[in-house]
């Protein structure tokens, strides 16, 4: 169940009851359960909040949740211009891993992965987190060197990572073509066994349900159109549903971050691009893990329901239209066939795109801004789903205390001026 159209609640909330027994007579439909309870209220905005979070994707929802849970801040509104998780959150290909190169990245991505490991109990909601491992394939001598370097860096940071030879790759994922007789032979792979996938819409709903239970207002159909800034300090937001005063404003608008920052007179080192993905029809379980290849340029996993889920790189031009060009998908599928000849008869069922906010160093921007009480979380580009709990945790800390959490302290906006970049293009290349 992946993709934007697939937003029907597939399982009842834990509080759903079967009301059949209490009904007087049997009739058609009585054998069916009632409509599940709604997971959150749909409140109208109040005139003022302690914290207004802009963007009801995974990051905004997780930030609101951890503000309440870790910091006791509950007078919060999450404002979403469309519907909850209608942006990148329910469009991503759900890969979760922490095998990035630099210490700074290891810090925040591994913090997130640890949170994923207990998130289902924490949210008391099924999120189908499956630690099926990820293989990052190497296809050239340089790939091998870079991959091993990353494995060793990961090991030094206490992250599970191994180098696998081609035969070992085939043991983890028997359908990968390891024949030497192809254009880009598989020469080995890095392997992170604790990596995996989760069901992205359930993750969003799980956070939303808990946030709502804390009394946080999740307000959909509410677009922020302006920021009220006086003497270098933000005082509230202007929205399509009226002005809302705010003690603090936390931006978590992913692809639209530049648009929101411009409302505060800020220019960001971001470019918003279409990023596409696609799924096949439902197939028998054939693909036990996640396989990514920077050189052949595709990544593939198989969702719980059975679709093959594929993605690759961004469309080259800037785009806010949530769609991309067909030749990009054609190349993705050609690459997938190169690695998995067994997919030759599979059919593409659906394609879609999100708007991803890319930075020059493929690392995010999370922290303070030159405007007082205005906080910024953006630049996660093609790889922020895996960070959802981790960044929610750290961004909540930043907003609540006015100081960055140690894990997001390296990811400042001013690193582009100081030069302290965190270059993760190598670990991120094909998209994360």
């Amino acid at each position: 169940m992946i993709g934007p159209r697939d937003n029907a609640p597939a399982r009842p909330s834990p509080t759903t009851t079967l009301n059949r027994a209490s009904r007087p007579s049997a009739g058609p439909g009585d054998a069916l359960p009632d409509h599940p309870d709604f997971l959150w209220r749909n409140p109208d905005p109040k005139p003022s909040y302690d914290v207004v979070v802009v963007g009801g994707g995974g990051h905004g929802l997780a930030t609101a949740y951890y503000l309440a849970k870790n910091h006791g801040v509950t007078n919060i509104a999450v404002l979403e211009k469309g519907w909850l998780a209608g942006g990148n959150m329910a469009r991503n290909t759900t890969i979760i891993r922490s095998n990035y190169l630099w210490d700074e990245s290891s810090g925040i991505y591994e913090h997130s992965l640890k949170l994923w490991e207990t998130l289902e109990e924490d949210l008391d909601y099924p999120i189908l987190f499956s630690q099926r491992g990820v293989l990052n394939l190497a296809h050239s001598l340089q790939d091998i060197r870079d991959s091993k370097r990353r494995v060793y860096a990961n090991q030094l940071n206490g992250i599970d990572a191994e180098w696998l030879e081609p035969e070992e790759v085939a043991k983890v994922c028997p359908i990968v073509n390891i024949s030497p007789d192809v254009r880009y032979p598989v020469l080995g792979a890095t392997y992170q066994p604790r990596a995996g996938i989760a069901k992205h819409d359930y993750v969003a709903w799980g956070f939303a349900r808990k946030a709502d239970a804390y009394g946080i207002d999740l307000i959909q159909d509410c677009e922020v159109t302006g920021l009220d800034i006086v003497d270098g300090r933000v005082r509230g937001v202007r929205t399509t549903r009226g002005d809302i005063a705010a003690g603090k404003v936390a931006l978590a608008a992913a692809g639209h971050s530049s648009v929101l920052a411009a409302m505060a007179g800020l220019r960001l080192p971001l470019q918003s691009h279409p990023l596409q993905a696609l799924v096949s029809e439902l197939l028998e379980p054939v693909h036990p893990t996640v396989v990514m290849s920077n050189a052949v340029h595709v990544y593939v996993s198989q969702a719980h329901k059975g679709e093959l889920v594929m993605g690759a790189g961004i469309d080259s031009y800037n785009g806010y239209g949530q769609r991309g060009a067909f030749h990009i998908l054609e190349r993705q599928m050609a690459a997938a066939l190169e690695l998995f000849p067994v997919f030759a008869r599979a059919h593409m069922l659906r394609t879609w795109a999100g708007i991803v906010d890319t930075t020059p160093d493929a690392s995010p921007i999370v922290g303070l801004t030159p405007v007082e009480n205005l906080y910024l979380n953006c630049g996660w580009g093609t790889g922020g789903f895996k960070a959802t709990p981790g960044v929610g945790w750290c961004f909540a800390h930043t907003v609540a205390t006015g100081e960055p959490h140690p894990y997001n302290a390296p990811f400042t906006l001013d690193r582009f001026t100081t030069g302290a970049l965190v270059d993760e293009h190598g670990a991120a290349a094909v998209a994360h």
């Binding site: 399509t240 080192p269 470019q271 918003s272 031009y317 800037n318 239209g321 030749h327 020059p360 001026t417």
Partner: protein, 108 residues
């Protein structure tokens, strides 16, 4: 596939072109005079508008020449193409894109 009008070759398929990002970013006239903030702006910071955007394209699989374009980043429509070194045309002077109803840009 989207067609792009190369100023020299006419309309060709999108795959013949490569993207060059924001247009009108000149190399600093006196590089030694720039402070870190100005260098950061020159190297890393770019406009990222939702709507018309002046950007560079190259017809790599054709005449291999660069040109500028004004393109709408929501519809991906090319509003106009113009030469490298020419002024950015004001997009109101080209055929206006079909007006979008309020709210239509939202992500549904």
């Amino acid at each position: 596939m989207q067609l792009i009008a190369c100023p020299w070759c006419g309309e060709r398929e999108e795959i013949e072109f490569h993207y060059g990002g924001e247009a009108h970013i000149a190399y600093p006239e006196d590089p030694y005079a720039l402070d870190d903030e100005q260098w950061a702006q020159y190297v890393f910071f770019r406009d990222n508008p939702k709507g018309p955007f002046a950007e560079r394209w190259v017809h790599s699989a054709g005449c291999r020449r660069w040109f500028n374009a004004l393109r709408d980043t929501v519809t991906h429509e090319f509003l106009t193409v113009y030469g490298i070194g020419a002024e950015r045309p004001s997009h109101t002077s080209t055929a206006p894109a079909a007006p979008r109803a309020k709210g239509q840009e939202a992500s549904r």
